[in-house]
């Protein structure tokens, strides 16, 4: 990617960010092609630096959120394209804080405070339905605040205000990551961490009604392997959370994932060779061994794919189409 095509890519990415997901890829491809053709035509006849011409074309196109707004059908919006990203961040922060406070309340901590007009009432005597309805009411107030900001013109840019294409954010490194895989990895990682460290009795078999029919799976001496399991699971959880948050995988994340896969195989082999881990080692050792072999094969495949990507530079920034 040369310097001027990178500016086009930055612009297309910024416009796309404000577009509905359904049309995003298609509009982005069309914009990329149109802008590239315009810039190339001007480069052919002008005796000026290509980067300068590209910035001129992009600048004349319009501020990204405004351009994205013109792709929307003619309808009134409660919150316009300029304020909507801020609204999403505000909702994310609010939900994160509310979830943390709810978890503390479930653990036995009571509190009540106000960040007007938002109410955080986690007093004794309330139930989960009350707490949930308060969460929704607060979200309504948050929405109303942003609607008022939009109507007051805070979210609008005046026609005379210019924008500087040089302020376009840089292209992120790496390739987009699905949210599903890291989310599943994070959920299972946290579950196993909690189970192994706090509640090993969660693993078990129920043969009948009541406690007498329940047999825990883990052997009391499984704790000898706890440091190894934690050394494998904790980095895995942190890495999944990081990829889930960034929604991108660079070479560093790929390398870390492969290293953890290989380390996981090593930990499983240690468990198989060391023992006892379960109360039914004779039955489960082959299962653990098979899992270790499968993970080893997956790690080999991922390593080969990662090396191939590095060799073909697929982890670098994408090339624009039509150039």
């Amino acid at each position: 990617m040369n310097e001027w095509s990178e500016w086009i890519e930055r612009y297309v990415r910024e416009v796309s960010r404000h577009l509905p997901k359904g049309s995003r890829a298609d509009v982005a491809e069309e914009l990329r092609s149109l802008l590239a053709e315009q810039v190339e035509e001007r480069i052919a006849v002008a005796d000026r630096p290509a980067e300068e011409i590209a910035l001129e074309v992009i600048g004349g196109f319009g501020e990204p959120s405004e351009v994205a707004g013109r792709y929307a059908p003619d309808r009134a919006l409660l919150i316009g394209p300029r304020l909507f990203p801020v609204f999403k961040i505000a909702v994310g922060i609010y939900l994160g804080v509310y979830a943390a406070l709810t978890a503390a309340w479930l653990a036995g901590y009571s509190m009540t405070f106000y960040v007007l007009p938002l109410r955080f009432d986690f007093s004794e005597g309330r139930d989960l339905v009350d707490v949930s309805f308060t969460a929704l009411a607060n979200l309504g107030f948050l929405l109303l605040a942003f609607v008022l900001l939009q109507w007051s013109g805070v979210g609008s840019r005046s026609a005379s205000a210019g924008w500087d294409p040089r302020e376009l954010p840089e292209l992120p490194d790496g390739e987009p990551a699905s949210r599903v895989d890291p989310a599943i990895g994070l959920a299972f990682g946290l579950y196993f961490l909690l189970t192994f460290n706090v509640a090993p009795e969660w693993f078990g078999f129920a043969f009948g009604a009541g406690d007498e029919g329940y047999v825990p799976l883990l052997h009391p001496e499984y704790r000898a392997f706890l440091p190894w399991l934690n050394a494998w699971l904790i980095p895995g959880v942190l890495l999944d959370a990081w990829v889930l948050w960034r929604r991108r995988r660079r070479l560093a994340e790929r390398t870390a994932e492969i290293a953890l896969e290989v380390f996981g195989v090593y930990v499983l082999l240690r468990i198989v060779a060391g023992g006892p881990f379960t109360r039914f080692d004779q039955a489960f050792d082959p299962v653990i061994a098979i899992v270790a072999i499968v993970l080893a094969l997956v790690a080999v495949v991922h390593t080969v794919q990662a090396v191939d990507r590095v060799r073909t530079r697929r982890l670098m920034r994408p090339e624009p189409t039509g150039t």
Binding site: V27, L34, E37, G60, G62, V67, R70, P73, G322
Partner: protein, 113 residues
């Protein structure tokens, strides 16, 4: 192009309002054959109607969403382009809009005497 106006002149804004109202008809009228965004922009400019790219390209998409245009990707000169053409419904609307425009033109002619 706005005749006799400076940047801050209220005339500029009013002329833009008139032109903005004529944009849809201009696009439908100019699309006598299949065109892509950049070629259409140049064709309109050659005929005296300057439109910003950031206005025309989204307009083409919106007209397509309304069923007045249809589009397809084509590869030409090693470049992938989205070409637009007027649909049957678009042609019907174009004819109606042209008739409305001619009526309006007669009215303005009468009013300006």
């Amino acid at each position: 192009m706005v005749h006799g106006a400076t940047q801050s002149d209220p005339l500029t804004g009013l002329v833009h309002e008139i032109r903005r109202g004529a944009l849809v008809l201009a696009v439908l009228a100019a699309l006598r054959s299949e065109e892509y965004g950049w070629s259409l922009l140049k064709a309109l400019a050659e005929r005296g109607l300057e439109i910003e790219e950031g206005t025309l390209y989204p307009l083409l998409r919106r007209l397509e969403a309304q069923g007045l245009l249809s589009s397809r990707w084509r590869v030409e000169d090693g470049r992938r382009r989205r070409y637009y053409r007027v649909t049957d419904e678009g042609e019907r609307i174009r004819a109606r809009l042209l008739a409305e425009w001619r009526d309006l033109d007669e009215v303005m002619e009468e009013l300006s005497r």
